[in-house]
């Protein structure tokens, strides 16, 4: 069983724990300048959207440069996006996204990923 990523988990802990602990353990030195707070407010949406966009729209063939991908994944992710926006429930969105892809692949509408 691979354990390489345990080290990465420790590294991610080291990147996370100070933010969690600073205010509780050293009150008074946690004040961030307003521009920094405003920037951090936007990091979450930008990083998560970037991850989703690259995962859905970019494919890396074994040979050659990355290619723009269009497929059933777009519909599934769009459905999830709409459901989360409408119902504020991520689990429902995920279930529907998985169902769309599974049905499309089972019926031959979409191919299995390479």
């Amino acid at each position: 069983m691979s354990s390489d990523l345990v080290v990465l988990a420790v590294l991610m802990f080291a990147a996370t724990y100070p933010s969690r602990a600073l205010g509780l353990l050293a009150p008074g030195i946690d004040r961030l300048p307003r521009p920094a707070i405003e920037y951090l407010q936007l990091v979450g949406p930008a990083v998560l959207a970037a991850l989703a966009a690259v995962a859905v729209m970019v494919r890396q063939p074994e040979d050659g440069p990355p290619v723009f991908h269009v497929g059933i994944e777009w519909l599934a992710v769009a459905a999830c996006l709409a459901l989360v926006w409408w119902r504020r429930n991520l689990l429902i969105g995920l279930v529907v996204a998985v169902a769309i892809v599974a049905i499309a692949r089972a019926t031959g509408v979409a191919a299995l990923p390479a």
Partner: protein
Amino acid sequence: MRQDVPALTAAASPGANRRRLLVEALAIAVSAMGFGFVYGLAARDAGFSPLEVVAMSTIVFAGAAQFAAIGYVTGGLAWPVIALLTFLLNARHLLYSAALAPWLSHVPRSRRAVMAHLLTDEAFALSIGHFRRLGRPDEAGYWIGAIASTFIPWNIATLAGVLAGGSIPEPARLGIDIIFPAAMIGLAVGLVTGRRELVAALAGGLIAVAWALFASPALDLEPSIGVVVGGVAGPAIGLLVPSSMAAERAPLGSAASAERYAMPGSHLDEPAEGDTR
């Protein structure tokens, strides 16, 4: 006690407040179970071993960052870059920590050090609301919010997810591979609480794809570097929206913001009047 965060209902009895906390914690726990299971499935589909998934959930214990790490790892990002992105994504905890500090200053330092590791969006949203309704600190209330509602259910569910994922012979046939991007976009939608977030998300996504398709091949870099570029440049572009037009509904560090970062679908009450911190 904070003077800028008034108690919501100073007259409510401790018993009634504790019961309300338990009900809210149960709702969060149910959501954490579902979301944790899905995380375990997605991590297994990406090639994480059960040990690695359990390590992520116990050592990192930050849902959105853990999900994002699946993409970073499969994209081949260097670990220092992953650490930097994790720091940026989790830096909001600094504001939660600062907001809770006045309520928990009487707790021994060693216990506060443990509390810090368990400080999640869910724990913050549950405990700050509980303290304010109670009008005083309640250490047991924090532990309920941090451990019973999130840490235990999240870890049990991720383990169940990764074990279940390992028993599925062809995950792609079941659409398991769509969980990761769908979860990312769903979490991003939950964080769009104003026009700046919307612009940052759109810019981040577009820049990431454009970089992955054009700049990465030209510079002989991994396409996943586009995520870093989009994730860093997107907020800068979002800040170009004038504050007068931002229409921000959940400032970072507020309980309303914490609930947005918590698993969508597990939201507690609507933010209270004047809840800006």
